[in-house]
Symmetry: C2
Subunit: 200 residues, 2 copies
DNA sequence: GTCAGATGTGACCGGCTGGTAACATTGTCA
DNA sequence: TGACAATGTTACCAGCCGGTCACATCTGAC
């Protein structure tokens, strides 16, 4: 157990890392603070000195995931400066990895979606992060010349959320590995704008 | 509280109905047997006389949802006898309602997916039900003349699971209302078979 | 009426979990 | 060395929850 490969990290960071990992694997409700502290090679008391409550820890995790998502967009722009179409194509591929690689931090968001009590303090943060992501992706689609950018983004949202859920329940052999293919087809459909009811 | 509009239903059925509703809303982990019994206008003891454990109740709920899904396919065949293309088009529309209407029984399945412990007794049932659904949908696509039926089914799976998750977390205003549009575009794409990398 | 089976009621147990208190340990800086 | 802050350890509390027990109530069949 524990994470012996980064001894230099202070307890607070180790706790956040462990919490993100375990929240992802077991759900927010499925893991206890004791287990988180132990996995972080720390203890419950230190956890509560840094985070006032389990919810507080959860929010911190989400915020860290959000800041990493920020880096995602920066990398996209740096890889294809000024080329929105290339960025969109690259976005699909990276999102595909993002979903199927085990280190998928966004999974935090739907782990937290289990908190159906809509007044949960984490919901606000989650909504804010999600809105930011959607705004950026919509702008990217628009820059890439997609007319109905909002529609495409909604469709891509369904695909990516479905892929995350499916990955967690079905794993390697599941449908989530087809995310990239499906996303590219949708983008094609919106880019060419030729909607015929081909079936029937 | 309680469900006063069906007094004739025996306690066992009321408990199943209440459990499905509450599992859906709060997740399997988020609701207690006491609350289920009370919502069913019954009590915990009667619950445990009919179901050996909470897990047992969960499995019964999933099985009932599965049998209703069976009725779904029967209705589809009756509505368009022998016309696979029409059935596929209708499937999309019905699945769209299925997802966005609050009475979405399939949500049980991903509520149960929170049970990440892979040895949970409900997992077996869930996997079995899911496989059956996929098989039927694949056959329908094939009958409708889709060559790469498995690929299309995987893509539709992602869409529908994403729509369910998104509906729960975002509701009316969310992306899940675009499910039908996205699904039709995907079907078009697979039916016409003309995949050009239109973007870029 | 009465008998049996199903249902309802309240109390209870044990384990887990979020959270706290008190004290011990370590490490660092002067 | 001494002092201080951060961290670790142990024990504990309270509440919730899955599950059980003993007993009361109801209902329909005969």
């Amino acid at each position: 157990m524990t994470i012996p490969d980064r001894p230099a990290l202070p307890p607070r960071d180790r706790i956040i890392d462990a919490a993100r990992d375990l929240f992802r694997k077991h759900g927010v409700r499925g893991i206890g603070v004791d287990a988180i502290a132990e996995a972080a090679d720390s203890n419950k008391m230190t956890l509560y000195r840094h985070f006032g409550s389990k919810d507080d820890l959860l929010i911190t995790c989400i915020e860290k995931a959000a800041s990493e998502a920020e880096a995602f967009w920066v990398a996209l722009e740096e890889a294809h400066p000024g080329d929105a179409k290339a960025q969109l194509r690259d976005w699909v591929k990276r999102a595909g990895d993002f979903v199927t690689v085990d280190h998928c931090n966004c999974e935090l968001i739907d782990a937290a979606a289990q908190l159906v009590e809509s007044d949960h303090p984490a919901r606000r943060v989650i909504e804010q992060v999600r809105r930011g992501q959607l705004r950026r992706l919509t702008q990217l689609c628009r820059d890439a010349g997609i007319a109905e950018a909002e529609l495409l983004v909604d469709a891509l949202t369904l695909l990516i959320e479905g892929a995350r859920v499916n990955w967690r329940s079905a794993g390697e052999g599941g449908a989530s590995t087809r995310f990239v293919d499906a996303a590219e087809r949708l983008i094609d459909s919106f880019a060419t704008q030729q909607r015929v009811l081909a079936v029937g």
